[in-house]
C-alpha cells in the first residue's frame, strides 16, 4: 500500500506518494507525476539516487525537525509530514510564534561582551543586538527581524550556552 506525505521545501508544499516496486526501486508520485527512484545507501548518511538517468549523491542530515539533503549541486531543506495525520491536525494552531515574535538565541557557547540595545528600542532587521565572544572571536548577533526589543535576557560578562535565549524582538 502506498504511503502519503506532505513535503515542504521553502514555501512550496508537495503531496507525495511512495510505493515499493522492487528491492531497490520505488515509485514516488509528486504533484501528480510519477517517478521511478533507485535508491541505495552508500555510507552512514550517504545515498546514491538514480532518477530518470540522473545520478544524485546525497548526504542527509537532520536539522531540528527538517531533513537537509545535500549534494554537489547544493542543499535542500525538506520538512515531511504524514499526509493523513496532518489533515486531521491541520489548522489547529500550528506555527504558534509565526506572528510578530522573534527570538535571538546564542549559536554557540560564549561570553557576552556587549549588549547594543535596550528594551523598547526600535531595531531594523540585521541590526546588531548583542556581541558574544566565542572561540576568541567577537560575533555581533543581529536582529532576526525589524521590530521593538521586548526582552533582554543577558548582560555583559555573562556566559551563555548554545541555544540560550538572548533577546526577544516583537
Amino acid at each position: 500500500m502506498p504511503m502519503r506525505f506532505v513535503a515542504t521545501v521553502g514555501d512550496a508544499e508537495h503531496q507525495v506518494e511512495v510505493e515499493e516496486l522492487t528491492a531497490h526501486t520505488l515509485r514516488v508520485g509528486v504533484g501528480g507525476r510519477n517517478f521511478e527512484v533507485d535508491a541505495r545507501q552508500v555510507g552512514p548518511s550517504s545515498f546514491s539516487i538514480l532518477l530518470e538517468r540522473r545520478s544524485f549523491d546525497f548526504d542527509v542530515a537532520r536539522d531540528g525537525e527538517d531533513l537537509v539533503i545535500a549534494s554537489r549541486r547544493g542543499a535542500t531543506r525538506v520538512a515531511l509530514v504524514d499526509a493523513e495525520r496532518r489533515s486531521r491536525h491541520h489548522g489547529a494552531g500550528a506555527r504558534a510564534h509565526a506572528g510578530g515574535r522573534a527570538e535571538l538565541k546564542a549559536m554557540m557557547p560564549g561570553r557576552v561582551v556587549n549588549v547594543l540595545v535596550a528594551v523598547g528600542d526600535d531595531v531594523a532587521q540585521h541590526q546588531g543586538l548583542v556581541v558574544v565572544e566565542a572561540m576568541k572571536m567577537e560575533n555581533e548577533l543581529k536582529a532576526p527581524k525589524a521590530g521593538k526589543i521586548a526582552e533582554i535576557r543577558v548582560k555583559p560578562g555573562q556566559t551563555v550556552e548554545k541555544g540560550e535565549l538572548l533577546v526577544v524582538v516583537e
Binding site: 504511503m3 506525505f5 513535503a7 521545501v9 521553502g10 508537495h14 507525495v16 511512495v18 515499493e20 514516488v28 509528486v30 517517478f35 527512484v37 535508491a39 545507501q41 555510507g43 552512514p44 548518511s45 550517504s46 545515498f47 539516487i49 532518477l51 540522473r54 544524485f56 546525497f58 548526504d59 542527509v60 542530515a61 537532520r62 525537525e65 531533513l67 539533503i69 545535500a70 549534494s71 554537489r72 549541486r73 547544493g74 542543499a75 535542500t76 525538506v78 515531511l80 509530514v81 504524514d82 495525520r85 496532518r86 491536525h89 500550528a94 506555527r95 549559536m107 554557540m108 557557547p109 566565542a134 572561540m135 576568541k136 572571536m137 567577537e138 560575533n139 555581533e140 548577533l141 543581529k142
Partner: protein
Amino acid sequence: MFKRILIANRGEIAVRVIRACRDLGVESVAVFSEADRTALHVREADYAVAVGPAPARESYLNIERILDAARATGAEAIHPGYGFFSENAGFARAIAAAGLTFIGPPPEAIEKMGDKVEARKLMAAAGVPVTPGSPDTLETAEQVRAIAKKIGFPIMLKAAAGGGGKGMRLVEHDKDLGAAVRTVASEAKSSFGDGRFYVEKYLNRPRHIEVQVFADQHGETVHLFERECSIQRRHQKVVEESPSPFITAAMRREMGEVAVRAARAVGYVGAGTIEFLADADRNFYFLEMNTRIQVEHPVTELVTGIDLVKAQIEVATGMPLAFRQSDLAQRGWALECRIYAEDPAAGFAPAPGRIETLRLPDGPGVRVDAGVYQGAEVSLYYDPMIAKLATWGRDRNEAIGRMRRALGEFVVAGTLTTNLEFHRWIVEHPRFIAGDFDTNFINQEYRPEAVAQGGDEAHLAAVLTAAVMAYRNGQNGAAAAAQAPAATAPSAAVTPWKMLGRLDLLRR
C-alpha cells in the same frame, strides 16, 4: 638534521609539520590538550604528550608543559606552527634557554615586527612604503580625530599588539569614532594584553597582497613572489591565491625587492610574510610582517614547487637555503579556500560539532590539508578551521575550474555546519572570476539568501529521497512492531534507513 621535532600546535598545521618531518625522515612529537586526545595530529605523530586542560592557555600556551614534553621525548627542536606561540619572542627565548632549537626567526625579529607601531617606523626608515597615519600610538579619541583631520576619513584603528586581522576597526565617519576607539582599546586589551592602538588611512578599494620571504642563517634572503588575500570577511582571509590577478610584472618585481629589504632590516631568518595593501592605483603600502609560516602557504608551494615547511626545518639546522632567487619562478596558478566549521548565514558564527561523514576531494591539481577525520569532533575550544583546500592549474581559469569541482566533491556531514556552500558561491561569482574584487568584496556582495539552494531537479530529487527515507522508516517501524519479541533482525537490513532516528511525522 634533527632526529625529532616537537610541534607546539594542533589541527591542520600540526599535521602539515608532521608531514614535512616524515618527508625528511625526522620523527615528530605531538602535544595535546585534554580535548584533543583523539585529534588527527595525535594520531599522525610518532610521539604524543598531554600538556593540560582544554583551554589553550592551560595547554598549548603553557611554556613549561611544552618544554617538559620536549625533554621527555628527546625532541631537539620545536616548530610553533601559526597562532599560539608562533610570534612569541618569550617562547623562542625559553626554547633556546632550554638548549633546544626554535624553528622560526630570531626573537629580536619577532619583537621588532610584533609591535606594529615600531615596525611601521622601522620600515619607513628602511625605505619601505607605509600607509599614511599616526606616527606613534594614540590613547584618546581626540588624538585620533586630529590625525583623521589630516589624512581624512575613512581610517583604520589598529591595536599595536594586534595582527592577523585581529584588533582592527574601520571608521568611516567622525560620529562613529568614539565607539570604535572604545571597542578597539577594549578588544586589544583583552586579546593581546596591550590596549595601545594607532591609526592608518583606509585605502580606496584596498587589495591585500603579501610577499613570501625566506632567509637562511648565512645572510641569503629571497622572496617567493606574492599571494593575494583580498577575499576576506571581518579582516579574516577566506580565499587566497598566487599569483595575484591584480598586479603587474613591474609591481611584482618591486614588491619582491621591497619585501626582501624589509626582512633584511630586522635580520630575518626563516619563513616570513610581508603584507601590503594596494590601492586602486596600484600604490602599495606595508601593512605588517608575519614572522611565521602562514595559513595560506600552500598556494606559494604549488606555484613555486618549494616545500616551505621543509625549508623552515632545514634552515633551522643551519643549512643554507636550497634555492637562490634565480632558481625561483611562478608556474601556473593556485587558489586556497579555508574550510571552517561556521555558519555564514548566521554571521559566520562558529558551528562546531561531530563529523559523521567526511569525503575529501582529490584528483588532478587538488591538495587538501585537513586537521580532522571522519568521526572526529571539531572542538569549540579552538579555531574552527577544519581543512584547507588548494587547487593548482596552468592558468587562473583552470585553477578555478578545479576548485569548483573540488568544492563539489568535498562532503562534511554531521552535527556541524561548514562554509562549503559559501565558497561555492564565491568561486561562481562573476567578480571573483574576473579578478575584480577588493577586501570589501564579501561585505558588498554576500547575502545568505544568494547562496545556491540547488536547482529544481536537485530539489525534486531531494524531496524524492526524503520521501523514500520516510517510507523505509515507516516500513521498518511496522516491521519492528510486528516482530517485536522475536530475535533482533539482521542489523544491516534494518538500520540503513533508520540512521537519522525515527522520523516523527506528527510534529506540528
